[in-house]
């Protein structure tokens, strides 16, 4: 980024032809502008990153992503390497679930695709998608973790002196390891062994929080993704075709805005049981209205713009006019709204879990808050403060990112600083 900025500082006036400046000047200009020209999107991204708030927000989201992807390696009762009774094994790797494996493969192929600069962009994208797509069936077929898990066996073996050497995860407790071998630690405050304390059933809170990051991220991204896709399609049709389409779409928006999301979710959970995906879909289906309104307004503005008229006059098909020429110019308010939407989806999931309607098996931040309240009459601050803090920080981080995006994308606010 900094090299681009320094190159930009000494370019020649833009509207003088290289031709009019003579061959030497043309050559000089060639050298100066060797840096590829920056698109609006690039400009906006670098503007966003320049804000301190956005940096904090992105850093926290990066931490969450790291936790989500590497959760089994960060917090696990299974040792990473174990030499027991004279031979080596890796119980941690053996106990990875297909979901863990797919997530790891996806992360590594995306990172590899981003780093492999010399390969053409399209090729990298196709390769990464192919690897991810292949990994899903392969993981389901070949990754078969043992069904019965005894977390205590390693600690017991260690006590019996059968372990010659052991490499543990940084937090050596699985989220569902209820430490049955040491019931005395249940509901104890943070200590050296359990940094964030232990909850009422004996599970380590830090470990549960690390594993819950995955749910928080997934629900935020998928629910918002569903909302954005629906909102863009309906809002786009309304804004482009106006007239009857607009009137129908507006009524549809009003109907969906009248649906109380939380009560609908509670009803669904009561009827169909607890399912994370149902939650995501319902949150997505009820929160697209704002996105649709944004896209509609943008399209109403864009359809009168000359370049859209020019695209139509060039005989481009409707698909291209709407998705190639209008959408990229009108998506920015939705991006801003989406980052706020992720925050609100995470909050909704937390509320649901707090109400005891979240997942039972998987840990979630909202569910842990509920445990703090329900913990046998007296309030255990550490069960509430850490997950609550994580929810707060995550929502705050997404709001900061959204705000920075809005400032970077709003031309009226540009250059005020």
């Amino acid at each position: 980024m900094s090299s681009q900025a320094s190159a930009g500082a000494i370019t020649l006036p833009p509207d003088r032809d290289a031709r009019s400046l003579g061959p030497a000047a043309a050559e000089q200009r060639e050298r100066l502008s060797a840096e590829p020209p920056r698109s609006f999107a690039r400009q906006a991204v670098s503007d966003t990153f320049r804000r301190a708030g956005a940096r904090f927000g992105l850093a926290w989201v990066a931490v969450l992503i790291f936790c989500g992807v590497f959760a089994p390696f960060l917090a696990n009762s299974h040792p990473l390497l174990l030499k027991m009774d004279g031979h080596w094994s890796s119980p941690l790797l053996r106990h990875l679930t297909p979901a863990d494996v797919v997530l790891l493969v996806a992360t590594f192929s995306i990172v590899a695709a981003l780093l492999a600069r010399p390969v053409p962009k399209r090729l990298r994208a196709i390769a990464a998608l192919a690897v991810i797509g292949l990994s899903i069936p392969l993981a389901i077929v070949f990754v078969r973790p043992p069904e019965t898990v005894v977390f205590e066996q390693y600690r017991q073996a260690e006590r019996e002196g059968r372990v010659q050497s052991i490499v543990r995860a940084p937090v050596p407790y699985s989220p569902t390891d209820y430490l049955r071998d040491s019931p005395e630690v249940r509901r104890t405050a943070p200590s050296r062994q359990h940094w964030f304390g232990v909850e009422e059933f004996g599970a380590d809170i830090l470990s549960r929080m690390i594993h819950a990051a995955r749910i928080a991220l997934t629900i935020g991204f998928i629910a918002t993704g569903i909302a954005v896709v629906i909102g863009v399609i309906i809002g786009g049709l309304m804004g482009y075709f106006v007239g009857v389409a607009d009137i129908i779409g507006m009524r549809l928006i009003e109907i969906f805005e009248a649906v109380p999301t939380l009560f609908l979710l509670i009803t669904f959970v009561a009827v169909f049981g607890r399912n994370l995906y149902v939650m995501m879909v319902i949150i997505g289906l009820t929160s697209w209205t704002g996105d649709a309104r944004f896209i509609r307004a943008e399209f109403l503005r864009l359809r009168k713009q000359d370049f859209v008229q020019a695209a139509v006059a060039a005989g481009l098909p409707l698909r291209s006019v709407i998705f190639r020429h209008m959408l990229p110019n009108g998506i920015t308010p939705v991006l801003v709204a989406a980052s706020f939407g992720i925050a609100s989806a995470i909050l909704t999931e937390s509320v649901l879990s707090f109400l005891g309607l979240g997942l039972v098996q998987e840990p979630s931040w909202g569910g842990m808050l509920n445990q703090a309240r329900a913990a046998g009459g007296n309030f255990s601050w550490w069960i509430a403060v850490f997950p609550g803090g994580a929810i707060f920080l995550t929502v705050f981080a997404y709001n900061l990112i959204g705000e920075a995006l809005r400032d970077a994308l709003d031309p009226k606010l540009r250059g005020i600083k």
Binding site: D17, A26, R38, S39, D306, A310, A313, G315, N329
Partner: protein
């Protein structure tokens, strides 16, 4: 179609063709367009007819709001429907009526056979794509080229419009270019698919004067090279004088005068055309103030009766001052009250051939009533300006090479 449509009394004698065998590329006949608004129907285009021959430049001239842009958009069927609708007439491109085509067939006409460039080069290019992407997209669509060929065609198109270092420019974004450069890109994009007709909607209005001349010269050169026709929409008589072969003057959604460019500049007949000429500054003339045409173009929802120009017409005012009282009515425009001729206020004139091949719609032209109706369809070409003069190279003339 409508009672006032030209040619109802006697079929117009076709004496307009310099070359008898030539067929027009585009033939617009009795085009009528209406828009449904909240305050009722408005008619931005009424009984408009004109023809464009291959290689010809036809200008539509008029003030803002006189219907010239709607006319040009309707040729490509870019009028939003609703609220707009075609009330009748035809737009024939090489024998096919564009108004009968399906939307899908129309898409293969747009860009491929008829291309358009717009007034505002600053906003006519999509800010999120590079120049190359934008030109190549249309090329891939219309010429069935693959991506690599499309980039080559785009590069050649940029070279054709005189952009230096086209290979590098392809990778640039619109915001990195000046207005004149962008208008060149627009022209390159429009011409990359080799259209037969280019609609240029005020192509130079938003540009600096020096750039204007370059762009006009560029259009002339490309027309010479490709043989395309140009429909030039403008309010600038200087642009008309430089590029047009045939001029149609529009006022209040109708064509009020049609003539060859030389004829129109020598002998303007309609008082509106005269007014347009008087409001152009002249070199060496010592006028303390530039004349204007009083008032503004009437809103299509509030057209006056009779001749639509009578509320602003100096001719009818002057004649009314000398006419007998029964021929005169007094009108109030809201700003002032003055007498006009009763006939101008009641009867809308049609285009009649008041001079050979020169049509005008004004009751107060000598011999108007006995002239035959005329449909604007001249295939006149202006005399080709020798290239040496055009390029501003006086030495070439001195040497007598022209």
């Amino acid at each position: 179609m409508t009672p006032n449509a030209g040619g109802t009394a006697a079929a117009p004698v076709d004496r307009s063709r310099a070359t008898p065998g030539a067929k027009p590329l585009l033939e617009v006949r009795d085009l009528n367009i209406a828009f449904d608004t909240e305050r009722g129907q408005v008619r931005p285009v009424r009984d408009v007819s004109f023809s464009i021959y291959p290689g010809q430049t036809v200008a539509l001239v008029g003030e803002s709001g006189c219907g010239k842009s709607v006319t040009s958009l309707s040729v490509l069927r870019l009028i939003p429907q609703p609220p707009g609708k075609f009330l009748g007439g035809s737009v024939h491109l090489e024998g096919r009526d564009l108004l009968d085509l399906s939307e899908k067939q129309m898409r293969s006409v747009r860009g491929k056979e008829i291309a358009m460039i717009f007034q505002e080069p600053m906003t006519s290019l999509n800010p999120v794509y590079t120049i190359g992407d934008q030109i190549a997209e249309a090329v891939v669509l219309h010429q069935h080229a693959n991506a690599r060929q499309a980039i080559e065609i785009a590069e050649q198109a940029l070279r054709d419009v005189g952009i230096a270092d086209p290979g590098r420019r392809l990778a640039e974004y619109p915001h990195q270019m000046s207005g004149g450069m962008r208008q060149r890109v627009m022209i390159a994009m429009a011409l990359s698919c080799k259209p037969k007709l280019l609609i240029a909607d005020e192509p130079t209005t938003a540009l600096d004067v020096t750039i204007q001349a370059q762009i006009l010269e560029l259009l002339r050169r490309l027309q010479r090279e490709t043989g395309m026709s140009i429909l030039l929409i403008t309010h600038d008589l200087g642009v008309v004088a430089e590029n047009a072969d045939v001029v149609n003057v529009m006022y209040a959604s109708r064509i009020v005068e049609t003539a060859t460019v030389e004829d129109l500049f020598d002998r303007p007949q309609h008082p509106y055309t005269e007014g347009l000429f008087r409001s152009v500054p002249k070199l060496g003339a010592h006028a303390s103030r530039l004349e204007t045409i009083a008032g503004t173009v009437p809103n299509p929802s509030k057209f006056p009766s009779g001749c639509k120009f009578h509320t602003r017409c100096p001719r009818t005012r002057m004649l009314a001052a000398q006419a007998s009282p029964q021929d005169v009515v007094t009108i109030n425009t809201g700003e002032e009250t003055f007498p006009v001729l009763r006939r101008c206020q009641q009867d809308e004139p049609i285009l009649r051939e008041v001079l050979p091949l020169h049509g005008a719609a004004c009751h107060q032209i000598a011999g108007y009533d006995v002239s035959p109706p005329i449909v604007p369809r001249s295939d006149h070409r202006r005399e080709v300006v020798p290239q040496a003069v055009e390029e501003g190279n006086p030495e070439a003339i001195v040497k007598g090479e022209t």
